[in-house]
Amino acid sequence: MMEKQVSTGKKSRLKKAIIYVICALMAALVPLFVHSVYYLHILILIFIYIIVTSSLRTIANSGQISLGHASFMGIGAYTSAVLAKQLGWTPWITMPLGGFATMAIAILVGYPFSRLRTIYFSMVSLFFGIGMIAVNTIFSKVTGGYFGLIGIWPLFGRSKVPYYYFFLGLTLLCLLILHRLENCRIGMSLRAIDQSHEVAASVGINEAGYRVLALAVGCFVAGLAGAGYAHYNLVLSQGSFDLLASINLLVYMMVGGVGSFAGPVIGAAVLIFIPELFRGLKQFTPYVFAGVLLLVIFVMPRGFVGLPAQIKSWINRRREAKEDRVAS
């Protein structure tokens, strides 16, 4: 179901590393030029969803396509917020705890779930996501339930700038965590499992174990991002982590393209940014979202990351057609 683009070689890795560093530097310079609170807010949201979408891709690359990933973000968010509120601990401690709590739950459900083949895993994850909302409502004394949680400890003061740099740093850290997983032998074994689980098992790879590992790391990162979101947004509502949110994540991932690590980054950025550009249209925003989706599925089957390859092959085909015409 997933197409992967394999790139090897030191040269292309160096090129990529340089591009990443340049992007990071450019991102770091943004607050010097952009002072609008609104746009900084959008960028912060983009950072957060880049992290969560990338973690979804990491999990998906092991053959587990989760339709409930937003709920893991929610677990991290609520855990951190509630710990800070009830126990009075600083968010700098509760945020990592939120990440670890999410990871623990992921491992707990991951072991039984890892036995399931793709589509069954997807269905179970969908219900896990909905179930988490129900659990949230059950414990509404602590979580605020349907009405949400307010009065969360903020990380910084009123200015968005420290938040911007915090989330930029968090994004770089989380992407680094996920990237390393993907590029070491662990990631190779995960991709092997995805391509042929029989062969993977016959060379000694513990399929279930690796799946849980991917789930654990992915959910740790998602929970961490969720926790950060909680102490930034200062308000949490169930609707941010429901089925719709999980589907959004999936769409970000598919639009960006699963073939490359940059896919979720681009997908999240594009699909959060463009509707915001059209924010003036208010209720018409879903139309814009739908429009972007239509554009992508009709024009870009592999998502945005597949675009360079598509353009290249389009140019080649034009060139060949031209040469044919000239020759005849």
């Binding site: 090897t8 070491c184 391509q195 042929s196 098992a201 016959s202 060379v203 000694g204």
Partner: protein, 253 residues
């Protein structure tokens, strides 16, 4: 006895695929497992390697019972296999296929792998060396950067063998390794298998092709999941039951 199969029986609902099978393979031997199509040979392999659980019976490898063990555990204990339909890591290159299969020897810990510790880097360099050696052995080093899914069929089969060898097995189960090959490819594959034997690896091979019978020590014949004959190939060939089982198949020679 490296591998012992005792009373192996497998029921699939109403169908009995394997019945009361007793097979023994001694260390260093090469045993052929032959029988008509549908005789249950691949099922036997699946049972040995843990892809299926037997209904009755047990499997003992190097003295320990591996009957209920999962496939990856069986692999870790030293049994490798190829598959009849030869699945591969289709989107990996030839070289990556072999490298990915070098999961077990040498094996880096998760910690060392993730944090790129010197032990991991040493292991990976070693693996690269060994992988290239294996590719040279099966003569696929010229296409090492081609995607596995783009390879012609014969090459893919060779890759399957290379992949199995990467696990440094003690026992190698080959499931119709010559399937779909032309005579040149077959000769080459048999050569590779001979070289593998020289390394001391015990081999159990399922094969229809008679060229394989020249290099096995002995054969076990199964039909309808039951052993019907066993012994040196020339003797078994004369066996009446065996001839009946193969009725309709070309008489060897």
């Amino acid at each position: 006895m490296l591998l012992e199969i005792n009373g192996l029986t497998k029921h699939f609902g109403g169908l009995t695929a394997v019945m009361g099978l007793d097979i023994g393979v001694a260390k260093g031997e090469m045993v052929g497992l032959i029988g008509p199509n549908g005789a249950g040979k691949t099922t036997i392999f699946n049972l040995i390697t843990g892809f299926l659980r037997p209904t009755i019976g047990n499997i003992v490898f190097e003295g320990s019972d591996i009957t209920q063990k999962k496939p990856h555990v069986v692999a870790r204990l030293g049994i490798a296999r190829t598959f009849q339909l030869n699945p591969l890591f289709a989107d990996f290159t030839v070289l990556q296929n072999v490298i990915a299969s070098f999961y077990l020897h040498p094996r880096s810990s998760l910690w060392a792998t993730y944090f790129n510790l010197p032990s991991y880097r040493r292991n990976e360099a070693d693996i690269m060396k060994q992988a290239l050696e294996i590719l040279k052995l099966v003569e696929l080093h010229n296409v090492k950067d081609d995607l596995a899914k783009n390879l012609p069929h014969g090459y893919q089969k060779r890759l399957g063998i290379a992949r199995a060898l990467a696990t440094r097995p003690k026992l190698l189960l080959l499931d119709e390794p010559l399937g779909g090959m032309n005579p040149d490819e077959r000769a080459f594959a048999i050569n590779v298998i001979k070289k593998t034997r020289q390394e001391g690896i015990t081999i159990l091979v399922v094969e229809h092709n008679m060229e394989m019978m020249d290099i096995v020590d002995r054969v076990t014949v199964v039909n309808f999941g039951q052993k019907i004959a066993e012994g040196v190939f020339e003797e078994v060939r004369e066996n009446k039951q065996v001839a009946e089982a193969y009725f309709g198949v070309e008489h060897p020679e």
